[in-house]
């Protein structure tokens, strides 16, 4: 086994380290000797050079996703982009309709934005995905009403990694005359996106999920046919008035560089990551009572979400201190509810509590995966030895079929 450095990072879906090349590009746009100007300064060379850097970054971004640079609005991240897209469309098209469709497994940036709009009187339909996390296209078709203005569906789910068929969904929304927003925070730079071909009207991006810095993202807004939004951030009229605020040149340049690298290296990266994920799953799947959450085929390469029945997420995570992963357990997160994503798939609360999300990335090695397999197996076996539910299961009195007194 190759040498490994502990702790091991397997939480690339939460965030990624900035690629050295990206950090270098970023640093050259900050200090006095660098390109630090304000791109809104049209009266001198400092501003012109900064503007050029922004344009290059936009071109880099657009090369990866098949968009035009005038279709890009920079934001503080995918959360802001989701807010801008959904509130922006809802407000601009209020005269046309009052209804939005989304999915129960969306990121909170979409769900909570929709909740906020509900308080303002809009109606929201929350679709339930199938057990494998994928949407039944017919359910979208059926949910569209005369006053539906927007469908918002994420490309790749952050918890379970499943890939929704945005090409097919876009055909439906276009045919029915409804706008389509896609949160692509977890997919850009990992799977191919060609907006010149897709019927997607708005798309949210993040830099820090793809080896760029935190605090920067973008929203794609289609120009033909033209999509309009109501601005959410008012001020100096930057970015054609759609999002005011001085452009953070160093962050935008970094995001552009991250997307440029992704375009070149994506395919090789993803092939390697997929083989590592397969290795990880092969090392775990023969354990008794383990379940993959979400479809294993229609899935981004870096994600493996597994429930280890009869052990609790927090105790799993605490027992593998030198491996950084996420859990769907209520006890290990800020909320007291177990993962709402797994619950929406119909997983029992107990299975949701016992889930771990492994997310692999550009710097994950085979040795790290092998170490993880050994550790997880040891920990699961140890905790099951401690678990009364496991004992009942072995004694053929399956705890899932028992009636539990609620105290």
């Amino acid at each position: 086994m190759d040498k490994i450095t502990l702790p091991i990072y397997l939480d690339y879906s939460a965030t990624t380290p900035i690629d050295e090349r990206v950090a270098e590009a970023m640093c050259s746009h900050m200090t006095r000797m660098g390109n630090f100007g304000n791109p809104a300064s049209s009266s001198h060379v400092f501003g012109w050079k900064a503007r050029e850097a922004i344009e290059q970054a936009a071109a880099n971004l657009c090369d990866l996703i098949g968009a035009k640079t005038e279709e890009i609005v920079w934001s503080s991240g995918a959360t802001e982009s989701d807010n801008l897209a959904i509130k922006g469309v809802a407000q601009f098209y209020r005269h046309k309709g009052n209804h939005i469709i989304t999915v129960k497994t969306e990121h909170k940036a979409v769900l909570d934005t929709c909740r906020a709009l509900e308080r303002e009187g809009l109606r929201i339909t929350y679709l339930v995905p199938q057990e494998n996390g994928l949407l039944d296209l017919q359910s979208i078709e059926n949910a569209i009403q005369d006053d539906t203005v927007l469908v918002s569906i994420m490309h790749v789910n952050n918890e379970i990694g499943v890939i929704q068929d945005i090409e097919a969904i876009g055909e439906i929304t276009r045919r029915r005359g409804v706008l389509f927003h896609v949160d692509a925070a977890q997919s850009a730079g990992k799977i191919a996106i060609d907006l010149s071909r897709l019927n997607v009207d708005l798309m949210s991006f993040s830099a820090h999920k793809i080896y760029g810095p935190k605090g920067i993202g973008a929203l794609y807004i289609r120009s033909e046919p033209r999509v309009r939004i109501e601005s959410q951030m008012h001020g100096g009229g930057h970015q054609h008035g759609m999002r005011s605020g001085t452009l953070p040149v160093h962050q935008i340049v970094a995001m552009g560089e991250a997307f440029r690298i992704a375009r070149i290296e994506m395919q090789a990266d993803e092939e390697r990551i997929l083989s590592l994920r397969t290795r990880l799953w092969n090392g775990l799947k023969d354990l008794d009572e383990v379940y993959v959450n979400g479809d294993l085929e229609q899935r981004v390469a870096g994600n493996l979400n597994v429930s280890f029945n009869f052990v609790a997420g927090e105790s799993l995570i605490m027992a593998m201190k030198d491996i950084a992963v996420s859990s769907g357990s209520a006890c290990s997160s800020a909320s007291m509810e177990p993962s709402y994503v797994l619950r929406a798939l119909g997983r029992s609360e107990a299975l949701a509590h016992s889930s771990l999300r492994f997310s692999l990335g550009r710097f994950t090695t085979e040795a790290e995966v092998d170490y993880t397999i050994i550790t997880v197996r040891r920990v699961v076996e140890r905790l099951r030895e401690l678990s009364p539910l496991w004992e009942m299961y072995l004694e053929d009195s399956d705890p899932r079929e028992m009636e539990w007194a609620v105290r």
């Binding site: 009869f310 052990v311 609790a312 997420g313 927090e314 105790s315 995570i317 605490m318 201190k321 357990s329 209520a330 006890c331 290990s332 997160s333 177990p338 029992s348 609360e349 107990a350 509590h353 030895e385 401690l386 678990s387 009364p388 539910l389 496991w390 004992e391 705890p399 899932r400 539990w404 007194a405 609620v406 105290r407």
Partner: protein, 134 residues
Amino acid sequence: MEQGMYGAKALDHYENPRNVGSLDRNDPRVGTGIVGTPASEYVMKLQIFVTSEGIISDAKFRTYGCVGAIASSSLLTEWIRGVSLVDAEKIRNAQIVEELELPQDKIHCSVLAEEVVQAAIEDYRRKQVLKKTA
């Protein structure tokens, strides 16, 4: 959950749990208590072996749940071994919180531990009554 949230004693009980296992639940001298539900992420099982003098001579546990729950039940087995039923009944969750230095949001773990002793003793006494009436 934060790494630093638990004190050294709680982590020690979690990493080296005492008295893990089971006793024969059909033995009339064994009392079994189970509290919690899988859906709530906590199931605590405690078994006690009681001598004819009313002393708990052995105690075993198994717990499904977080570090706090595992540590609380492990500590509990240490405390009740060699103790009379009357004294074991007096154990309160606040004592466990204090000993393990449990954080505020893990106090419910100690409550379960208090409840599981009561449940095990109750089960033992029920068996004794059954034995006499049989």
